[in-house]
């Protein structure tokens, strides 16, 4: 959390995660090549260099589809949350796989002319005379977007840019995805007569779009579920529901119209309410869990004590807390926080 930086914060779980991702990449490319060789035995004329390009390119595309599906899957079903913790590592590995695919293409198609291969890459069809869309340019643009995201994925950049700007910048992944879909749809998909690539691209687009829209609808329903009662000027309370809704150590999200969500937790016979926005990346604390007595963010595991909104030592973040009261068997949360979040003094 905020106690200090090291270049890369690897721990045992992250190393296992990275090892699994890298093993899957190697296995996928080996299986792809083996299946392509079977096709060659049946009379299809695939060159080994083309098989390699397709293997790494399709691997990168599948990785990107998976990465973009993890967020909405975790919002729709908590069982996917463990995949979310190390998504940034997955993203950086994806970038290197995609970059390797790009280098293979450059060394295969552009390295044998009189001009520099890097210059040739941008000059291959400047008149746009090709019959199909110039898909290579979409690939270069997509890879450039993901290069920026990979380079700024470290917590250092998050600290420098601030959580909101950093998160907004990383929404650029969706622009990158659009560019990569164009690259694949007008590249490999056009030159392959069999339906494999068309199926892959269509499934990817439908999965990513469908999951994001479903998750957005679920998220919007939480924001709309507001029962605000204004008792007097400046004294508004949110009806968080009946006491039975608050099982011990279960986090419930409530929100006032136009305000941020509030995470409400029952600990023993007391109910506490703290800001539902994590101090790290603005993660959805109201969708988190209680672990070791601390409210834990589902994104990267940052923790806060529900009673005080403070991160346990040595960490120094503290969240805004809200007054809670029980009346006629219902829990009410004051809409205005007791104090703003920040760093413990």
């Amino acid at each position: 959390m905020s106690a200090g930086y090291v270049a890369v914060q690897w721990n045992r779980k992250k190393m296992i995660y990275d090892a699994i991702v890298l093993t899957c990449v190697v296995l996928y490319t080996m299986i792809f090549s083996a299946v392509a060789n079977l096709g060659r035995a049946e009379g299809h004329t695939y060159s080994s260099w083309l098989v390699d390009i397709r293997a790494w390119g399709s691997c990168a595309f599948l990785m990107l589809t998976t990465i973009l599906s993890i967020g909405p899957l975790a919002r729709l079903d908590r069982r996917f949350l463990p995949l979310l913790y190390n998504r940034r590592h997955f993203g950086v590995i994806f970038f290197f796989v995609a970059a390797y695919h790009g280098l293979q293409v450059i060394d295969t198609y552009y390295a044998f002319g009189s001009a520099s291969k890097w210059r040739a890459l941008f000059e291959y069809d400047t008149a746009f005379t090709a019959q199909t869309v110039p898909f290579v340019l979409f690939g270069i643009a997509g890879l450039s977007v993901f290069g920026i995201l990979a380079a700024t994925s470290h917590d250092y950049w998050q600290k420098v840019l601030g959580p909101r700007t950093w998160k907004a910048l990383h929404f650029g992944a969706y622009l990158g995805y659009l560019l990569i879909v164009m690259h694949v749809a007008f590249g490999a998909m056009q030159s392959e007569a069999r339906p494999g690539w068309t199926t892959l691209v269509a499934l990817s687009v439908l999965t990513v779009c469908g999951l994001h829209i479903a998750a957005a609808r679920k998220s919007a329903s939480i924001d709309r579920d507001v029962r605000l009662v204004r008792l007097a000027a400046g004294d508004a309370w949110i009806d968080a529901g009946p006491l039975e809704r608050f099982a011990p150590d279960v986090v419930v999200g409530v929100a006032a119209a136009g305000s941020e969500r509030i995470a409400v937790v029952r600990r023993g016979d007391r109910v506490h309410a703290v800001s539902g926005v994590c101090a790290h990346q603005g993660g959805p604390l109201a969708e988190g869990r209680v672990i070791d007595g601390c409210l834990t963010c589902p994104w990267h595991g940052w923790q806060y004590r529900p009673e005080t909104g403070e991160a346990p030592p040595p960490f120094e973040e503290k969240l805004a807390t809200y007054e809670v009261r029980e009346q006629d068997g219902r829990i009410w949360v004051r809409a205005e926080p007791k104090r703003e979040c920040g760093v413990r003094s």
Partner: protein, 46 residues
């Protein structure tokens, strides 16, 4: 996510989803017409 980023995220996807589907449809249309339009038939070529 903060409320404004959640709203931005939702609006992005309402824009992106039709764009992606349009790109896919366009590419599939191209794919269907590409071989017949651009590759001249060679006698005896099967």
């Amino acid at each position: 996510m903060t409320r404004d980023l959640r709203t931005l995220h939702r609006r992005l996807w309402w824009l992106l989803a039709p764009l992606l589907l349009a790109a896919l449809t366009w590419a599939i249309t191209q794919h269907v017409s590409y071989p017949a339009d651009s590759v001249p038939a060679v006698e005896g070529d099967r």
